[in-house]
């Protein structure tokens, strides 16, 4: 049970925050642990300091967070604090080969993160799907002056769970034998990477539930028997209190809700997280699609029955309004991204933005940006397959993300929250003006769901120099290449970002270059850059033309033989007639 430690910590932080901003240090050895979180299968997972699940991070606004990481697993790894702006601190953002080389096994790395925002976030591995193997935890930033009043809070991190290690499943997923790109289906669901979590409620109190979706794939529908929920926070942005009976949460998104305890202790109630079957290629009969936690009013009280709930329609942008208003600004630049999936010329089903599938460069994109001088504003230096977009400092940017795929995708932009300014049907081709929401205070968040065959328009200001990854947060799809790189204000990076020597040492230890363009060369010479598969040609290749030639040849010779045989007969017939 997480109840007591969370309550105590919240109380202490409440005291300390009023005093001064602290340096909060965590010492995290990333280790393997053998355990059985869902009670169905023992397996090896990735934990912290020999413990699983990893502990949550709790800090307060204006603290400085220091995480001393020692990598004690057998693969290079990184950590990414999801949703943290990392203003002027891009080199601590974490995605492997985007802002750093991953930490080699046995090496150390210190993440120093000034905390300049508050709300509900999470921290997770950002190399090779390590977070799916368990390297994930809630990251809670407390505000000494919270907008809403509540008595206590709990954190619920929902996630899907697999029995095989991610690397094994990835081999099956990215294989020529999976041309439809069917994602591996999870084996169960967990809350805070455990079963049977409990939350103590007292009548008359108001509770804040911080709800996180830490999944590789699953979308959860959240509802609480016998209680309504008032949404007060979306991805770290406070919103006007909005009451709902249920809401969906996609991978990587967060919501905080206020729940008012009931007046009596006569029953205990279940908090439900129901996985949405639409996200799964198939739903085996043995798969338990629901995970529950229990609200305990009185340990001896009976459990109230589960209520039937209609998930209904939920449009976050239409329903929720930020407390701190921010009007939209017209965009200086518009970027159009169209996401789709298809079998490429390596015969594996990959994901593409605008027909380009993401492949990591030889040099982390950030190191290219800080080492190429004037050339850092030329997108070519970042390589073709890192799919870079260079933004000018402080310009307003609009990105239209078209989902040209049969599945729903949650897209996440590092380093920012963005305004969700419009939603539309199909692929927006620019032939007619885009229809934006009619609002002066659009919803802001960092992970937005774009449903199948729909599009979304987001806006943000390029005021945070750095290299920010933009990708689908379904881990399988990220591995399949549904990612693109935003290179924001490279001209301003040198003055703002400090990349220390440990970064470059780690690259060297892994045999990777740490400066130069995407191929590790100088200037615009990209020979040797990492290349990805391309779209299938769909027309005749040399092999095909040769084959076609031989089939035609066989048919012509064959028919010729028939005519030859019959030709002789004609002569014979003629002779017989003459006799």
């Amino acid at each position: 049970m997480l109840v007591a430690p969370v309550k105590a910590l919240a109380f202490l932080l409440g005291l300390s925050a009023a005093a001064h901003a602290a340096v909060v240090t965590y010492n995290w050895n990333i280790t393997y642990v053998n355990t059985n979180p869902d009670g169905l299968m023992d397996r090896r997972v990735i934990g912290i300091n020999g413990q699983f699940p990893p502990p949550a991070i709790n800090v307060t606004l204006n603290d400085t967070l220091v995480i001393n990481v020692v990598n004690q697993i057998s693969e290079p790894t990184t950590l990414h604090a999801h949703g943290l702006f990392q203003t002027g601190n891009n080199q601590m953002d974490g995605p492997s080969m985007v802002t750093q080389c991953p930490i080699p096994p046995g090496s150390n790395f210190t993440y120093t993160i000034p905390i300049q925002q508050y709300g509900t976030y999470w921290i997770h591995g950002h190399n090779k799907g390590h977070y799916v193997d368990g390297l994930r935890a809630p990251f809670i930033i407390h505000n000494p002056a919270e907008v809403y009043h509540y008595d206590e809070e709990y954190t619920l991190g929902f996630a899907d769970w697999y029995h095989d290690e991610h690397a094994v499943l990835l081999d099956e997923y990215l294989s020529i034998f999976n041309p439809s790109g069917a994602e591996p289906v999870p084996k169960s669901a967990l809350i805070n990477q455990m079963l049977n979590t409990q939350y103590s409620f007292e009548p008359g109190k108001v509770y804040r539930l911080r709800i996180i979706n830490m999944s590789a794939l699953a979308m959860f529908h959240i509802h609480i028997d016998g209680h309504d929920m008032d949404i007060i926070e979306v991805d770290g942005v406070d919103v006007t209190r909005t009451s709902v009976k249920t809401f969906p949460i996609s991978a990587a998104q967060r919501y905080s809700v206020l729940v008012t305890a009931r007046n009596t202790t006569s029953n205990n109630f279940l908090i439900h997280g129901d996985m949405d079957p639409e996200m799964f290629d198939t739903v085996p009969d043995t798969l338990q699609m629901n995970i529950t936690g229990t609200i305990i009013y009185d340990a001896t009280s009976p459990l109230a029955p589960t209520e039937l709930i209609d998930w209904g329609e939920f449009d976050d942008a239409a329903l929720l309004t930020p407390v701190i208003p921010m009007a939209t600004s017209p965009a200086d630049d518009q970027i159009s991204l169209t996401a789709s999936f298809q079998v490429m010329d390596d015969y594996i089903n990959k994901a593409t933005f605008n027909d380009i599938t993401y492949v990591a460069p030889k040099v982390p994109t950030l190191y290219t940006a800080v080492s190429m001088g004037n050339l850092s504003s030329d997108p070519q230096v970042y390589g073709t397959y890192s799919h870079p977009w260079v933004l000018k400092h402080n310009s307003w940017v609009e990105i239209i993300i078209n989902n040209n795929d049969a599945g729903n995708h949650p897209f996440h932009l590092h380093g920012h929250v963005f305004q969700v300014v419009g939603r539309g049907e199909g692929v927006y081709d620019g032939s007619t003006p885009y229809t934006y929401f009619n609002t002066t205070n659009p919803l802001r968040r960092d992970t937005v769901l774009v449903r199948s065959l729909q599009n979304v328009a987001i806006r943000f200001q390029a005021n945070n120099p750095g290299v920010w990854f933009l990708h689908c947060h379904i881990e399988w799809h990220l591995q399949a290449g549904l990612a693109t790189t935003i290179v924001e204000a490279p001209e301003a990076m040198a003055g703002i970002l400090t990349v220390d020597q440990t970064h470059f040492d780690h690259c060297k230890a892994l045999g990777l270059p740490s400066s130069g363009n995407a191929a590790g060369n100088q200037g615009l010479d990209l020979t040797g850059q990492n290349v990805g598969p391309n779209l299938l040609p769909g027309k005749f290749t040399t092999k095909g033309i040769v084959a076609l030639f031989f089939t035609v040849l066989s048919a012509v010779v064959g028919l010729g033989t028939v005519v030859w045989y019959a030709q002789d007969e004609e002569l014979v017939l003629g002779k017989e007639d003459r006799r």
Partner: protein
């Protein structure tokens, strides 16, 4: 897409009916040309062909109709997993039968008398001990059209079963009827045209056409078996998703898919030539090997015919010498 006329269904019916009509009309022409002085035998054989057609049609309608009814009620792609195996085996059997039939027709030029006699003999010797070859020989002209129509009819039913999922009910009947009529018309034209072309040239042309179709069937059969195998590896829906085994693939085009409902032209090439937008080492090699076997068979037939003629010429000379001697 017209609401009263489903083009894909029209093309399916037209294509399947044309295939069947070509084979049936060639048989009718053949029988008409060979049996010139025995109208009773001619009528009997023509009856055989038509009975074969009607029986094949009836069986395919019964099986196909039942299938479509079940299909609709089950609303599940139960058939999908074994459809390819079925198609492949049917195509292979049809290929073998058509090839043997065509090569036999070629030989018939030289042994017209023998054929006429043989057919007549087989008809009249109803009580003689029946060897298997005798039986199939006697009923060849019933079995071949029956199996052909059966195969084409069932293929059409399965395709229509798959397509009617999307098509509106009222667009089906007109397309089916027009497709049937158009296909029958094409077959009839070929049949009538035969009497204008020199007998010999007609046989050669129809043999060529039939061998082309059979070669295509052989390639199609291999393709079906490969698709079945790939579907089992990948887990169903291989055909639907348009995927194929990349190992051994020779070409995969974005255009020219004969299975697409609106690709009528390519579907036609598929039925006549065995064309497909996906080709593998297996289908290409199979196609070339088929022709190689046909070429070798024809050359062998020619050598045998030459030897037989030489032997007959010797005997003739010997006999006439004997005549002279006896006198």
């Amino acid at each position: 897409m017209g609401s009263l006329f489903s083009a894909p269904i029209f093309f399916i019916m037209f294509r399947e009916t044309t295939e069947a009509a070509i084979i049936v009309s060639v048989l009718l022409s053949f029988v008409k040309q060979v049996i010139v002085d025995d109208p009773a035998l001619l009528r009997r054989l023509k009856w055989h062909i038509w009975i074969g057609v009607l029986v094949g049609l009836a069986i395919s309608l019964i099986i196909g109709g039942t299938f479509i009814a079940l299909w609709k009620s089950l609303a599940k792609n139960v058939f999908q997993s074994s459809e390819e195996l079925w198609e492949g085996t049917f195509a292979l059997i049809a290929c073998i039968m058509i090839t043997i039939m065509s090569l036999a027709m070629l030989k018939s030029q030289e042994v017209q008398e023998k054929w006429r006699g043989k057919l007549g003999q087989a008809m009249r010797d109803a009580d003689e001990k029946r060897s298997l070859s005798n039986l199939t020989g006697k009923y060849a002209l019933l079995l071949l059209p029956m199996i052909t129509v059966l195969r084409e009819g069932l293929e059409a039913m399965i395709f229509i079963g798959g397509v009617t999922f999307d098509a509106e009910g009222k667009s089906i009947p007109l397309a089916v009827i027009v497709g049937l009529i158009a296909g029958a018309l094409v077959g009839f034209i070929i049949y009538r045209g035969g009497s204008r072309i020199a007998l010999h040239r007609f046989f050669v042309a129809s043999t060529c056409l039939l061998l082309l179709i059979a070669a295509g069937l052989f390639a199609k059969s291999i393709h079906a078996y490969q698709m079945d195998k790939w579907g089992k590896i990948v887990g169903g829906d291989a055909d639907d998703a348009g995927t194929y085994d990349p190992r051994g693939n020779v070409w995969a085009l974005n255009y020219g898919d004969p299975n697409q409902p609106n690709n009528g032209g390519w579907a036609f090439f598929n039925s006549i030539l065995g064309w497909n937008n996906i080709a593998s080492v297996g289908t290409i090699t199979g196609y070339c090997v088929y022709w190689l076997v046909v070429i070798l068979s024809i050359v062998f037939m020619k050598l045998k015919a030459n030897r037989a003629r030489a032997a007959a010429a010797n005997q003739h000379t010997y006999a006439s010498e004997k005549d002279v001697e006896m006198k």
